[in-house]
């Protein structure tokens, strides 16, 4: 250990001796680490698990309501289900928890607050949604299963909407006017920002990698699925329709897919049972003549569903490749400069070897010096990462407000900088430790 202190001392002296060369190496490492950690942090935040510890129990059942012929069996079920299939599966209550999902945009006013009307994004769902996805509440709570049945006109609102309409005060019990009906607020969410917004994530495979919008904020209003259909007769936003719906068709019979279902299944046996259940359901519906492709059912887990939709935008992936190529070039640069630095000291190394230092000792000393450069470079890299993230936060992308450097990535910055510099120092240090003794002493 005392030797380590001595090496550190030697390294510091050596770094101070040629400030220009030292600065070049530190800048190379800092810039390389800054670029790659910025993109890596974005990747880390965008590709994470939105429900850590629970996502493996969450599944997304799918049946294929398409009546179109599919001779080669290439059609994947659409990203949502038709109203009938989704509500049938939900009503069976065969999972531990189950939540329907429908989306709409409705005109909203708060009658007792003097504010202009706005268009609110409304999520229609069922009571299991909140416990299943561990949604945090600030005031009040969610509605109960009987509210789903009795079509109660209640709503849960987001923290953002509560601040906008009520200045952040406890608004439980107040009334909102949605389209032409009154609903009572029974709960206000604490700030909740899942990344991505996984529960109504659809259409990734049709988006050409432009998936930044998967990271936008959750809806502002959450309502019971049943009562929201009473209020909004136009129905939910359709993912697609297999033919144009007749004007005036109610959404319960429309030829569109606009409802999704999430289920929670606690163990492998339940998962197998539920898979069998949806297959049976599809077969039975085919016998009834309602479905055409009975064998085309799927049930990806939450993370499989995110993978299938390729949630990380392709631009972000491209930037990560670029940043690592950049880091590689910076490292080549550092290898060259370190080599120059160590070999220039051949005379000094020769003297140390002649005085009894082993090759290992010379190697260690050189590596300590490389590591020290890495540490200083890592500090610069950390500052540049903060700068890089601040720059991306200025971009008009949906995930901008999600970006921050968490403790994992903070540590990773320094670990990566030191590892990179040790790697870069390996060849030069090895070369330095092989310096031919006699030759160097002769030239002194």
């Amino acid at each position: 250990m005392s030797m380590f202190g001595y090496y550190l001392n030697l390294a510091l002296r050596s770094l101070m001796r040629n400030k220009m060369l030292t600065a070049l190496m530190v800048i190379a490492i800092a810039v390389g680490i800054g670029a790659s950690m910025t993109t890596l942090t974005v990747m880390h935040l965008l590709s994470g698990d939105p429900l850590p510890g629970r996502s493996q129990h969450i599944f997304y059942p799918q049946v294929d309501p398409s009546p179109l012929p599919d001779p080669e069996n290439t059609h994947k079920p659409w990203d949502m289900m038709d109203y009938r299939s989704a509500t049938d599966l939900w009503s069976a209550h065969r999972a531990d928890r189950q939540a329907l999902i429908g989306r709409s945009a409705l005109r909203l006013t708060a009658p007792d607050m003097n504010q202009p009307p706005l268009m609110a994004q409304v999520l229609s769902t069922t009571s299991d949604f909140f416990p299943m996805f561990a949604v945090p509440f600030q005031y009040g709570g969610s509605w109960q299963p009987q509210d789903d049945q009795q079509r109660t006109r209640v709503a849960v609102i987001s923290s953002d909407l509560n601040i906008k309409l009520f200045g952040g005060a406890n608004s439980v019990g107040r009334t909102l006017r949605l389209k032409d009906s009154d609903v009572r607020i029974i709960g206000v969410l604490a700030p909740w920002r899942p990344s991505p917004q996984f529960y109504d994530l659809v259409g990734g495979r049709f988006s050409n990698g432009q998936t930044a919008d998967f990271y936008s904020k959750p809806q502002e209003v959450f309502m019971p699925f049943s009562s929201s259909l009473d209020i909004n007769t136009d129905g939910f936003m359709a993912f697609t329709c297999w033919r144009a719906p007749d004007p005036g068709t109610s959404m319960t019979t429309s030829p569109c897919v606009s409802v999704a279902l999430w289920v929670e299944l606690g163990n492998a046996a339940k998962v197998a049972d539920y898979k069998a259940f949806i297959t049976d359901y599809a077969t039975q519906q085919k016998a009834l003549g309602r479905l055409t492709h009975a064998d085309n059912t799927r049930m990806p887990s939450l993370m499989q569903w995110l993978d299938f939709n390729q949630v990380v935008p392709s631009d972000v992936r491209l930037q990560t490749w670029l940043a690592f190529a950049f880091l590689l070039i910076c490292l080549f640069n550092t290898v060259g400069l370190l080599l120059a630095k160590f070999l220039r000291r051949s005379g000094e190394i020769g003297v140390r070897r002649a005085l009894g230092a082993t090759r290992g000792a010379v190697l260690t000393q050189c590596l300590v010096e490389a590591g020290l450069i890495g540490l200083i470079g890592g500090f610069g890299g950390w500052l540049l990462t903060l700068l890089g993230l601040a720059l991306i936060r200025q971009q008009p992308v949906a995930y901008a407000d999600l970006l921050h450097l968490d403790s994992t990535m903070f540590l990773a910055t320094f670990v990566m900088a030191i590892v990179a510099s040790l790697l870069a120092g390996a060849v030069p240090a090895w070369r330095a430790s092989r310096v031919a003794l006699g030759l160097q002493l002769k030239t002194l």
Partner: protein, 410 residues
């Protein structure tokens, strides 16, 4: 200049020489591809829309109230907007070129018996659309007022199979006409939709880009004589002189609010703003790529400076000996310049192969076209120049070594 002594020196510094070569190769490969990506994005951002971009403003309202009076409401709204001084044209349209959000698209066929669609086209609708957008008609005519059908009526007719209730004609872009009937006039030709429903081409416009899904063919657009209202998702498109846009937008909002103060405005912007927003991602990515290219070139240049300085310092005595034996300053300068040129050339050759490989990878994963051949000579020249500039300083220092160094400390 004799290359052999340089090669024999480099052979004694294999590691350092290879490091420099690899650094140049990687830089060359990445910069070539990055510049290509930049050019692709720039090309995308500069795509022509075919419309009078600087003369348009858009106002979109949310649908409030029942559907039945939507048509009457549309008429009143349009009339009020036409009253605003400076407004030359007004239309209710569903989509505009280069905007995100919904777009109406459909496959069309050239033969009613065909199984597969020939191309995927976008469908523009709305009364008075062509003159409001300001597209240039190159053949045929615009729609006559009696050819228009309301969207709901058209959908009903489509389902009941009543051909009379559907529009009979359409206008297409020149690009689409050339794709469907190469070298022929498109006027009077038939296209088929869905289960073989026929429609006749009556007009061809010079350019009209799609709203999105650009990969399906940027200008594969069709225009239909279908009228729309706010309840069906249409927004107001107002045309006026460029310098009047701000004022007209304000007056339009005031006029619409006056007709019904309860309406929610979803969107109010000039077309230029809409287009700017659509390409925001490409602009950001271009900025990042330019930054990376510059940083790479600077880092590589610094690397060359560092190594060249090291070599000069290491060979100080050799240089002194050469000078003492009669080599001129120019000889020494040339020596280091030639050495750098050799290393850069090997690096560039490897780099080009690498650039080609990276391009193949990008072609597979990011739907990019092949790297044009022009990038190879341009990239090579750029790296040669950077190499020569970077080595100039250390080489001048080497040339300045006096011959007397040779006599010291032997």
């Amino acid at each position: 200049m004799d290359i052999l002594p340089i090669l024999s020196t480099l052979r004694r510094h294999k590691i350092t020489a290879w490091l420099l070569i690899l650094e140049i190769a990687l830089t060359c490969a990445i910069v070539c591809n990055a510049v290509f990506l930049i050019s692709q994005r720039l090309e995308r951002m500069n795509l022509p829309s075919g419309i009078a971009e600087h003369e348009l403003v858009q106002v979109q309202l949310a649908n409030i109230g029942n559907r039945s009076d939507a048509e009457a409401r549309a008429k009143t709204d349009l009339a009020a907007l036409r009253q605003i001084p400076g407004v030359t044209q007004v239309a209710l349209v569903f989509q505009m070129p280069f905007t995100d959000g919904g777009s109406s698209n459909s496959g069309i066929k050239l033969d009613p018996q065909q199984q597969e669609d020939t191309v995927d086209v976008t469908q523009y609708m709305g009364e008075n659309l062509l003159s409001t957008l300001g597209t240039r008609l190159v053949a045929g005519r615009d729609f006559r007022p009696d050819e228009f059908v309301d969207l709901d009526a058209a959908v009903t007719a489509l389902h009941s199979g009543n051909l009379k209730g559907l529009p009979q004609v359409l206008v297409i872009t020149q690009m689409l006409a050339e794709r469907l009937w190469p070298g022929q006039s498109a006027l009077g030709k038939q296209i088929y939709l869905g289960q073989g429903l026929p429609f006749r081409v009556v007009g061809v416009v010079a350019h009209l880009a799609r709203p999105n899904r650009l990969s399906k063919g940027v200008e594969y657009s069709t225009v239909w004589p279908i009228s729309m209202n706010v309840a069906q998702g249409a927004s107001f498109l107002i045309r006026c002189a460029p310098q009047e846009r701000e004022r007209v937008l304000k007056s339009a909002l005031a006029a619409l609010k006056q007709l019904d103060p309860n309406r929610v405005v979803l969107q109010k912007r000039t077309y230029d703003e809409a287009r700017h927003a659509f390409f925001a991602n490409d602009r950001a990515m271009t900025g990042i790529l330019v930054g990376v290219c510059l940083a790479l070139l600077i880092v590589t240049a610094l690397g060359i400076v560092g190594l060249a300085s090291f070599w000069v310092a290491q060979r100080r005595r050799t240089i002194g000996v050469r000078r003492a034996l009669g080599a001129t300053r120019a000889n020494i300068l040339q020596y280091f310049q030639t050495e750098n040129f050799l290393l850069a050339t090997i690096g560039i050759v490897i780099g080009m192969a690498l650039a080609f490989g990276i391009n193949l990878f990008l072609m597979q994963h990011y739907e990019l076209p092949r790297l044009p051949a022009i990038y190879f000579p341009v990239g090579a020249i750029a790296l040669w120049v950077i190499g020569q500039l970077a080595v100039l300083g250390p080489a001048l220092r080497a040339a300045a070594v006096p011959p007397v160094v040779a006599t010291r400390s032997v």
